[in-house]
Symmetry: C2
Subunit: 588 residues, 2 copies
Amino acid sequence: MLRTHTNGELRLENAGQTVTLVGWVQRTRDKGGIFWIDLRDRYGITQLTLEEGQEAETLREAARELGREFVIQVTGKVAERYSKNDKMPTGDIEIRVESLEVLNPAKLPPFLIEDDTDGGDDLRMKYRYLDLRRTPVRQNLMLRHRMAQAVRRYLDAQNFIEVETPVLIKSTPEGARDFVVPSRMNPGEFYALPQSPQTFKQLLMVSGFDRYFQIVKCFRDEDLRADRQPEFTQIDCEMAFVEQEDILNTFEGLVQYLFKEVKGLEIGKLPRMDYADAMRYYGNDKPDTRFEMKFVELNDVVKGQGFPVFDNAELVVGINAMSCAAYTRKQVDELTEFVKRPQLGATGLVYARVEAGGNVKSSVDKFYSQEELQKWKAAFNANEGDLLLILAGPADKTRKALSELRLEMGQRLGLRDKDTFSALWVVDFPLLEYIEEEGRYFAMHHPFTSPKPEDMTLLNNPETIGQARANAYDMVINGVEVGGGSIRIHDRAVQAQMFSLLGFSPEEAQAQFGFLLDAFEYGAPPHGGIAFGFDRLCSLFGGADSIRDFIAFPKNNSGRDVMIDSPSEISQAQLKELSIKTDVVTGK
Amino acid sequence: MLRTHTNGELRLENAGQTVTLVGWVQRTRDKGGIFWIDLRDRYGITQLTLEEGQEAETLREAARELGREFVIQVTGKVAERYSKNDKMPTGDIEIRVESLEVLNPAKLPPFLIEDDTDGGDDLRMKYRYLDLRRTPVRQNLMLRHRMAQAVRRYLDAQNFIEVETPVLIKSTPEGARDFVVPSRMNPGEFYALPQSPQTFKQLLMVSGFDRYFQIVKCFRDEDLRADRQPEFTQIDCEMAFVEQEDILNTFEGLVQYLFKEVKGLEIGKLPRMDYADAMRYYGNDKPDTRFEMKFVELNDVVKGQGFPVFDNAELVVGINAMSCAAYTRKQVDELTEFVKRPQLGATGLVYARVEAGGNVKSSVDKFYSQEELQKWKAAFNANEGDLLLILAGPADKTRKALSELRLEMGQRLGLRDKDTFSALWVVDFPLLEYIEEEGRYFAMHHPFTSPKPEDMTLLNNPETIGQARANAYDMVINGVEVGGGSIRIHDRAVQAQMFSLLGFSPEEAQAQFGFLLDAFEYGAPPHGGIAFGFDRLCSLFGGADSIRDFIAFPKNNSGRDVMIDSPSEISQAQLKELSIKTDVVTGK
């Protein structure tokens, strides 16, 4: 090895030892007759010193030539520092340098390699290998490694087997867009990259593997938002001979283990919430339960007093922003603007303050007497100093807008602390949702999800199809859906019925999923599973909003890797060999 | 859970307990008033019994309807068996069934789900999910899981961090063919799937990650042989601030750990052999060292005695097939045919037997006196009963043919036992090899491999380029190259020189690998690494020749997954969205 120790390793008890260190020059100072070098590696920073007279002058001259990010190797004696730095693990010692070799010089980096850098997003993406040198980014990837190791440890101990499923699979019409791969050996045909290993893990259950998992790359060719990547990683799991309760318990255990191992936190048992309740009380199927501020429905309380906005609304619903009665007019106007933005589309915001003494003062006092307003106060269980925020309109749209307002208020009130974690299961999702534009039902989870046995008959009547619930569940932490899954169909006839409900002809179903339908006829056990978004889970554990900094080499919002300049044109010879042409005139 | 125990779990001490089991019906017998069912799951087989009168007759009637591979759930009492089966872990007990439910019936499988099946390769590939039910195949995948877990445990303990590198990368002209992926968002442009994460792991070293690994899918669009797959898995590793010796020690440790953990074997320290010696003594850069039978070069011993085949040959070289003097004429003729096959192309085989008493009898006695033949015997260090097999011709071709003959003799003599393991490092590979048809040098390992410092000057002279050795190494076990790697170039100028030697113009080098060349200017540490073929390593540990049975869902020799019928045609709409056309007229 080119070193005897790392830069995070030496302590006072090493004083007197001769050591060899390697690393990057973080910074240098030449002051008061002493030349200092901070030497950095993955493990930490160690201070090197060259005192006047102590070392040969040629050594000091060499040191003066060092720039930021030079890679050097030094040998010297560990010595106690004159002035210690108790913020650094190596802060009690320094190395009195006796020899110094430049292993590789460095040009001046395009941005500062410091915890707080001056580099913009684009520059840091282009020089990602330099951005990865920064401690916060490196720590994200080390967290990710620790999490992956812990996931495997837990699942292995629970008798799960990691099985690698193929990356070159078959394109399917349902769901998001596939990435495809032309086959040279089979001209005119294409593989597809998996959006998930769903059918393969179900086949592994049919094979008797009983408990499967995989930390696996998946691919979706969707238009990208800030928190999406064309390739992403799932913790993909499946179990046979289980019921929903068994799966919830097993994976609740996984997440409890991760919090304990990685963050040192006990998150306790996860509450379970019906989808219906989540929508009713939070307007959202992934409620942020770090804070209460539940929805209060007011139709019975507010209607019939002559205020047309409320009287004509399908739903009047509000939240109690506790202790916000002192909000200024300007602050309330901001909230009104917030809910009136086009993506939420509320027509306005009604508010009411509970004043000192208990009187309620609202923005619609001309329609409501104090007596009526006291009923509001009671409905919200409000106290002096509280601010009630109320929306009215079509139920779904109003719930959605109020959900966003609730999150905004949570943010403003500091109730969404990144170091506080609140996890729960949302269960009993609808099986199907009708998409108006497409004129048909779509699977809310995916086409392999089983209906609740007691809701099976609802599927036989066009009027009630939409009411059928699925054996499906999501794990939600801090308002983020970190995982979701379902008990699967394991019966050929039920699966065929599901494909039919989704608009597949029997021929199409057989062409696309015949292997799975056939497999169900050879002894398929009851089974179910779950998949966690691993990038998202890591960013949540790391207290960040974006998944990008938890991925070593992410792509930008156009799906480009600007560092390696990909995607790129390929040669005509390559295209010809693959029996394809592009519609685009290229330079090659 | 639908069960209280697995089918591998119950023992005599459970007698008297009421249990619920689930699984697949392996077989049934109705004999002597008792109805037997062998119930199978991943964990084992448990015997179920229904005695006459003991259970209701309806239960027995239900049991008689059971077919092979039905999925059932039974509840009953654990009882001591009348006649125990000490070959089964559960052989002391049986379950007296009290209730039985069919969870899913099964059609008759297309082949027997037994250790020895009657299914042919094609049928088993089509119904892979049924083939995976067979114990030997399942055990292969469980071995693979255990190996992956052990690899991660070892490397994690050595401070390696697993980092996921991208799957959607950039096509490069060097090496094997890339699979490509058209980009919808960037029309006319393509991603490529990685043949290895080589440049990314080097960038991670530039980033200071210091010790990286990844168990990762890689892709090569090559014509497939029985032991190749278009997607395969590597254990990919890289270390910074190391020399070759450090890497050999670290990964020797990994393989020792794997043998110990997974096979319970101590394989000891790995010998190191120069590439030159491997070629000289085994005619092969991946020698099977489970047995000696080293090459003996005979030019000095046999020339000048008037035998033109030897006199005109560049190389005369042989092996001592010990104790084979009794080989019949027929057996020797077989060996002669073996080396004369077109792929080896030897013109003939000279042999000599050491007879009882020490006399040597050769196939070329008319050219060689007994005195001369005694010199052969001495050169081979041969004893009574040995058979000397000698080839002559151009050096490279003759070594290759003799290498195959040596392996054949090893096989015939039972010296290549699958449960014996002999591992070694082959080191000091040539840096470049000249490919006549292409008229240029190619990197023997890859273009990022560093020359040995002492051989750098050889690269400046066209006459000596081919003699330069690389800091490259392979790990070989039982004649199989399981891993290979090198110390990398970390200097921009040297890397640019290497691209130039490989025929890249400076512009081409910059366009393809500019990101790496640039990265080397910002403080790149010395680094090197290795990649192991994980499929191959698993098959070696599992004592099998083919990697296919260690992959859950392999493709056939045409790159097809016959189970899911992939690759397949995609719709015109999909093609249009991707801005590509196929040259093939399709039905869609």
